[in-house]
Symmetry: C2
Subunit: 167 residues, 2 copies
Amino acid sequence: MREMTKKFLEDAFAGESMAHMKYLIFADEAEKKGLKKLANAFRAIAYAEFVHARNHFRALKKLGDTPDNIKSCIAGETFEIEEMYPVYKETAKLQEEKEAQISTHYALEAEKIHAEMYKKALNLVNEGQDYDAEKIYICPVCGYTAEDVAPEKCPVCGAPKSAFVEF
Amino acid sequence: MREMTKKFLEDAFAGESMAHMKYLIFADEAEKKGLKKLANAFRAIAYAEFVHARNHFRALKKLGDTPDNIKSCIAGETFEIEEMYPVYKETAKLQEEKEAQISTHYALEAEKIHAEMYKKALNLVNEGQDYDAEKIYICPVCGYTAEDVAPEKCPVCGAPKSAFVEF
Ligand SMILES: [Fe+2]
Ligand SMILES: [Fe+2]
Ligand SMILES: [Fe+2]
Ligand SMILES: [Fe+2]
Ligand SMILES: [Fe+2]
Ligand SMILES: [Fe+2]
């Protein structure tokens, strides 16, 4: 693929992903205000942006077979753990930005778990097996990720077991 | 907020949004291969990245009240319609990149509708009302967006009515 087209598709994938995310965040906010149909519109349009992002992703030939997809996840999580979040968290500390210190700390802790999960997934898939967790529980405050059973209290942010979202 | 912390949080929001999107795309692919538990793990971890993105977004003070949120959507869609996608689409044509021509054309057409929907939403919310569409239908091929009833055939990509996703 030509360089400029590739660059633009990558930027378009980033833009669509951020629009999708923003609309999901705004949907929850509208829902809280009792604006149910507005929340539904935000979620519907967020799905349209998902379709656009997926089209750009496919055009970029980034959708591979399952082991390659998992490897790309391991690479992304590892970059965040080893490079990105330690730098962002240290910068927030240096600049005394409290909220940014918390949001980068929360992310860093969860990414460590995600990297291990994806490594396990790659081993299982390479052996011809599906993933092995029946249920996965996510902390809605910090993103802490647990398999099979939610903790009594989130070890990262202290949120109660009842708040965890089950998948 | 200090400049470098702000820059890093913006980059982290982009990174989390793209990770979220990638995991949703991989979840569908795993599901198609019959790997149900792997698909579930991708979706659970995608939700954790949503939590991270939302934390960064809040720390950046980008979550406003409902009219401000809608204005930010109008601005984003308008930029895509007037600046981003016309340039990307023209570049794909110039460079004879067929798939990129299609994926940027599909996005451009849908964003025009989204901008109008958000303008209508802003007027309604300013009058103290909720959005006025009971149902919204999205084309899963191109993201074409219709209110109240799905078209017999997608006017942008030709997908049949039965393929539309209802919200
Ligand atoms: Fe889009
Ligand atoms: Fe992660
Ligand atoms: Fe937590
Ligand atoms: Fe994350
Ligand atoms: Fe849009
Ligand atoms: Fe379509």
